[in-house]
Symmetry: C2
DNA sequence: TCATCTTATCGTACATCTACGATAAACGAT
DNA sequence: ATCGTTTATCGTAGATGTACGATAAGATGA
């Protein structure tokens, strides 16, 4: 069990802000996921299959992207019979926009 | 040379907007890179070594993160004698903020 | 010139991401 | 109960990301 010696400022240079923003940014770091979010926002609500129809990707891949977006909080999925109904979570989107907007330009 | 058959909407579901936003988001998808951008913005301008001092990462790793940020356009590096002086590119940051803000919440 | 300082790059190991087909799981309808 | 429909998950192959030490490259100063 080796405890590495940290530099003086190493403990707090990378903050919770950085972690949160990086996590949200990572969820949108793939063009397909941005497209899914836009499509979902435009449609309001959408069954998984409708997204698959419109994306140039296999169903398994789309499902995986949806999982990433869901884990980051960008979308919510509600089970509706044999289907799953997806929509964007506006709170997470607003949070992301707020964090990005707070970066100094 | 195999030409895959695309679905009807597959050509234009993923747009240039999605690519551009995803590229910028990917550059900020690591906490260390967000921290570097913040630190750089706060300092105005910064020599590479000063960033290394403050980050809990090896010099090679910081240099690599700076390269990613530079390739995405978030930072600029100006050679100054034996040193390299870094600063954020406000245009790219504003562009990123504008793209993110344009996402429907 | 030579030693020193600073930064970029190389090589490398390990982890994570991305894509897909195949399959499982859950539901409605017959 | 069985079938068809829809979606999530598994397994996997190949690409990319992340971290580091070692080293090269470039500039300054002795």
């Amino acid at each position: 069990m080796k405890i590495p010696v940290l530099k003086p400022a190493a403990q707090d240079t990378v903050t919770a802000f950085d972690d949160e923003l990086a996590n949200l940014a990572r969820a949108l770091s793939h063009p397909a996921r941005v497209a899914i979010v836009r499509h979902l926002a435009a449609a309001g609500t959408c069954v998984c299959g409708q997204i698959v129809e419109v994306m140039p990707l296999a169903q398994a891949t789309v499902s995986q992207h949806l999982k990433v977006l869901k884990e980051a909080g960008f979308v919510q999925g509600e089970v509706d019979g044999p289907r799953t109904c997806y929509c964007v979570d506006p709170e997470t989107m607003k949070r992301f926009q707020s964090l990005v907007a707070s970066l100094p330009a």
